[in-house]
Amino acid sequence: MSSVAVPPTGILARVSGLRIRVRPGTAACAAIVAVIAVAAIAPQVLTHRGPNAIDLGHTLLAPSLSHPFGTDDAGRDLYTRVIYGARESLGIGLGATGLAMSIAILLGFLAGLAGGLADVVITRILEVAFAFPVLLLALLLIAIRGPSVTTEIVAVGIGSAPGYARLVRGQVMHVRQAAYIEAAAALGHRRLTVIRRHLFPNAMRPLVAVITLGIGQSIVWASGLAFLGLGVAPPSPEWGALLDSGRLYITTSWWLEIMPGLVIVLVALSVTSLGRTLQHRLEGAAR
C-alpha cells in the first residue's frame, strides 16, 4: 500500500495545519532558536575567538563592543563561551527529552494497549516515579557515576519520563476508541498495521507540542544541575557550568551571571513559546 503515492496538493498542505502565517513574537522566537541551532552546529560561524582562549591581560572586563558579554576571570570572551556552550546545553535538552519520550512511549503504549494487569502495574510504577523529585534522582545517579553530560541526560530524561508516559497512555486510550481504528480493523488490516499507521501518529500528534515544551524545560533543568555542581564541570562552556563558575564574582562582575542566565531564559522562553504556537496550530487543525 505504501507504494501508492498520494498526490500532494494545496489542500493537503492546509490540512496538515502548518500554514505559515507568522506573528512578530513567533518570528523573534524562531530567530533565537535558529541562532542557537547554528551555534550548536557551527559555533565558529558566529565568533572568531576560541572558547578557551585565555587572555590574562583582559580579565573580568565589562561588556563592550569588542566583548559584548564581557570576559571572565581568565580573560576568555564570555560571548564566545556561550556560543560554544550551546552544543552541550542544547544536546542535553534534546537528549533528555528524547530519552524521556522514548521511555514514555514504550511505557505509555504498553499500558494503554495491553490494559489489564500490565496497565495497573505500569500506572503504579509511574505514580511512584512521579512522586520522586528529579533532583534527588540526579543526585543518586551522579553519586554512582560522577558528573558528566551523559549522566545529566539520563537523570533529567528519567526524571521527566513519568509525566510524558501518563500523557502518552491517556492519548493511546483515547485514540484506540476512535471509530477510524475500528474502521481500519473492519477493512482487515493487521493490528500492528493499525497501530503503526493510525494509532501511533494520531496519539502522538498532540504530544509534538508537549515535546517542544519539554526541550526548554530540560535545558533549564540541566543548567540548574550544573549550577549546583552536579552537571558538567566548569572548564566546559556549558551554560549551567558558566553560571556555576561566575558565582564567585557575582558582586563584582555581574555579567558573568546575567549574560548566560539571560541566554538560558531567552532560549527556554523561545522554545516554549514556539511549542505553544505549534500546539495551537495542531489543535486548530485537529477539530
Binding site: M1, S3, V4, A5, V6, P7, T9, I11, L12, R14, V15, S16, A178, A179, Y180, E182, A183, A184, A185, A186, L187, G188, H189, R190, R191, R197, H198, P201, N202, R205, A286, R287
Partner: protein, 557 residues
C-alpha cells in the same frame, strides 16, 4: 402575495383570532452573511406554528432571536416583533431577562447539553421561578415537583433530587419542558425538542406540547422533520436559505404544497409509500421502478445463529445486551434491524462484522464459521463485508485525505490495484459511483459536507468489493433531502452491484423504505421479524404496535 395566498392568510386569521406574536420582515445577519432574509409570521394563542427547514435555513437563528439570544456578532432588524403589545425589537439585556421564562418559554434541542450536569432536576425547574421572584424557596420547591408531575415525570419527588446524568433522555427533555412552562408563559418556542429522542419518547414529548397548546399556550415549533410537525402544527412556514418559501395551514402545506421545495422535502421522507421508488424526484418526472438483481434465497450469505453478548459492567453485574438473536441475509437482499437506543442493534452489527466475539452462538459468512475463525484466518475474508457508520467523519483518520482513505481500502480487497496509477483510476471510479469526482481525491473529509462524507464512507466500504455492507444508522445525522440522496445512492448501488445490506436504524420510515425483511429488537431480543410490509401492516408483537403508533405520520396533519 398571490390571491390564493391572501385568502389563505384570511383563513388563518379568521380561524385563530388575535395574534399573540407578530413578526414582520425579520432580518438577521452575522457579519456580512445574512442568514434570515426578511421573514414574517404570526403566532396565536392555542395554536402551533411550525417553522420547518434544513440545516442552514435560518430556522434556529429565528427561534433564538425570539428570545433575544441571537448570538455574538449578530445584527437583528425587523419592521415589527410584537408580543401582545410588547415591542421585542427594543429590549435591553436586562428587560429580556424579565421576558424570558415569564412571557416566552424556550425549549432547546439537546437536553443533555442544555442542562447543568451538577444541578438537581428540581432546582433546574425552579430556576425560572427564582429568577422571576416567584414565591418562597419552599413553595418553589413544591411547585417544581408539581411541574415535574405535570409533564409526566414518574416519582417527581425522587426525580427532583436527581441530577441530569442520572436521568434518561426522555426525562431530561421533560425537565427542560417543565422549566420552560414553569411560569406558564403565553408563548413557547421549542427548537427541535424531539430530535435526539427515540420514537416513543418523541410521541410523549409531542403530546406534552399538545396539552400546553390545548390550555391556550401559543407554540412555535422548530423542526427539520415534517412528520413531527404534522402531529402538532396548525400552521407551517417552510424556510430555505433564510427565506420563507411557503406559509399556510398545516394540512394544506403538507398535502397540497405549492412550492417545489416543500414538495421535494415531502417526497424525500422515506416511508411505506416510497418503497422501491427514488426519494429525489424532479417535478413532473416519471418515477422509474427499481430494477433489482435477483435475490438468491437458497443460501444465506451472512447468517447469525442464536448469538448472545453479555457484558460485565464495572459493578460486576452481567448485562445481556444481545440475547439469542438469529437472522439470515441473502445475496442482493436488505435486512433491516430496527429498535430504540439500547436495543442491541449496534452490538449485533459489530458481532456480524466479527469486531466483537459473541458470548454464545455463531456467525457464518458465506458458509464459513466467521465468528470462530482466528483473527489471521478472518483477515483475508474481511473484504467481503464492509461497514458504513452513522458519523463518517469520526471513522476517517483525521490526517488522511479522501484519496488515501480509498487507496488504503482498495489495497485490502481481493483484487488490490497493481500500481498507483491503477489505484488512482479505481478510486476515481469509486468516487464517481457515489456521485463525487476526481476533484475530491485530495479533499480532507473535515472540509466536506455531511452528505459528501457519507458518500466517501460508502465508497470506502465498496472499495474491497464486498458482498455484504453493514449500514449502522447511515443517515441518522443527515438532513432529510441529503438522507434521501444517500438512500437513493444505496438502492442504486444495490441494483447495480447486487450487494446485500444489513441496515440498522431507529427510524421506522427509513427501515420500511429500505428493507426487504425486518427484525424488530427490544432490550437485546428480537421481538418480531418478517417481510417488511408484513411487519408494518400486520404487527403481531405489542411492542412493534406501540412503535408504529408512536411514529409521526404526515397524514396526521
Amino acid at each position: 402575495m398571490t390571491a390564493a395566498a391572501a385568502t389563505e392568510q384570511t383563513e388563518i386569521d379568521a380561524a385563530a383570532g388575535t395574534p399573540l406574536l407578530t413578526v414582520e420582515n425579520l432580518r438577521v445577519s452575522f457579519g456580512n452573511a445574512e442568514v434570515v432574509k426578511g421573514i414574517s409570521f404570526t403566532a396565536r394563542p392555542g395554536r402551533c406554528l411550525a417553522i420547518v427547514g434544513e440545516s442552514g435555513s435560518g430556522k434556529s437563528v429565528t427561534a433564538r432571536t425570539l428570545v433575544g439570544l441571537t448570538g455574538l456578532n449578530s445584527a437583528v432588524q425587523a419592521d415589527r416583533i410584537d408580543l401582545a403589545g410588547l415591542d421585542l425589537t427594543r429590549q435591553s439585556q436586562r428587560s429580556w431577562r424579565a421576558i424570558r421564562g415569564r412571557q416566552i418559554g424556550f425549549i432547546l434541542q439537546d437536553a443533555l447539553v442544555s442542562l447543568d450536569q451538577l444541578r438537581r432536576a428540581g432546582d433546574e425547574v425552579a430556576e425560572p421561578l427564582a429568577v422571576h421572584r416567584w414565591g418562597t424557596r419552599a413553595s418553589r420547591r413544591r411547585k417544581a415537583v408539581e411541574l415535574l408531575d405535570s409533564v409526566g415525570v414518574p416519582e417527581p419527588e425522587v426525580r427532583a433530587r436527581q441530577r441530569p446524568y442520572e436521568l434518561s433522555g426522555g426525562l431530561r427533555q421533560r425537565v427542560l419542558i417543565a422549566s420552560a412552562i414553569a411560569l406558564d408563559p403565553k408563548l413557547i418556542v421549542a427548537d427541535e425538542p424531539t430530535t435526539a429522542l427515540d420514537v416513543t419518547l418523541q410521541a410523549q414529548v409531542l403530546d406534552l406540547l399538545a396539552e400546553s397548546k390545548a390550555r391556550g399556550t401559543s407554540i412555535i415549533l422548530i423542526s427539520h422533520d415534517l412528520s413531527v410537525v404534522a402531529r402538532l402544527a396548525d400552521e407551517v412556514a417552510v424556510m430555505r436559505a433564510g427565506e420563507v418559501v411557503e406559509y399556510g395551514p398545516a394540512h394544506r402545506v403538507l398535502h397540497l404544497p405549492r412550492h417545489e421545495y416543500t414538495q421535494a422535502l415531502l417526497d424525500a421522507i422515506p416511508s411505506e409509500h416510497t418503497r422501491g421508488i427514488r426519494l429525489v424526484r424532479r417535478a413532473g418526472e416519471s418515477v422509474p421502478e427499481r430494477v433489482r438483481k435477483p435475490i438468491d434465497r437458497d443460501r444465506p450469505l451472512l447468517q447469525a445463529r442464536h448469538i448472545s453478548k453479555v457484558f460485565r459492567g464495572p459493578d460486576k453485574v452481567d448485562r445481556t445486551v444481545v440475547d439469542d438473536v438469529s437472522f439470515e441475509l441473502f445475496a442482493g437482499d436488505t435486512l433491516g434491524i430496527v429498535g430504540e437506543s439500547g436495543s442491541g442493534k449496534t452490538t449485533s452489527a459489530r458481532i456480524a462484522l466479527s469486531l466483537l466475539a459473541p458470548t454464545a452462538g455463531e456467525v457464518l459468512l458465506d458458509g464459513q464459521p466467521w465468528s470462530r475463525l482466528t483473527p489471521s484466518q478472518r483477515r483475508p475474508l474481511r473484504g467481503q463485508i464492509g461497514v458504513i457508520y452513522q458519523d463518517p467523519l469520526s471513522s476517517f483518520d483525521p490526517r488522511w485525505p479522501v484519496g488515501r482513505i480509498l487507496f488504503d481500502a482498495l489495497s485490502t480487497g481481493g483484487r488490490p490495484p497493481s500500481s498507483s496509477a491503477a489505484a488512482r483510476a479505481r478510486a476515481i471510479r469509486l468516487l464517481e459511483q457515489v456521485g463525487l469526482g476526481e476533484e475530491h481525491l485530495a479533499a480532507a473529509p473535515l472540509r466536506l459536507s455531511g452528505g459528501q462524507r457519507q458518500r466517501v464512507s460508502i465508497a470506502r466500504a465498496l472499495a474491497p468489493e464486498p458482498s455484504v455492507i453493514v449500514c449502522d444508522e447511515p443517515v441518522s445525522a443527515l438532513d432529510v433531502s441529503i438522507q434521501a440522496q444517500v438512500l437513493d445512492l444505496l438502492t442504486d448501488l444495490q441494483d447495480e452491484l447486487g450487494v446485500s445490506y444489513l441496515f440498522i436504524s431507529h427510524d421506522l420510515g427509513v427501515i420500511h423504505h429500505m428493507s426487504d425483511r425486518i427484525l424488530v429488537m427490544k432490550d437485546g431480543r428480537v421481538v418480531e421479524s418478517g417481510a417488511a410490509d408484513e411487519v408494518f401492516e400486520r404487527p403481531r408483537d405489542p411492542y412493534t404496535r406501540r412503535l408504529l403508533n408512536a411514529l409521526p405520520r404526515l397524514a396526521q396533519a
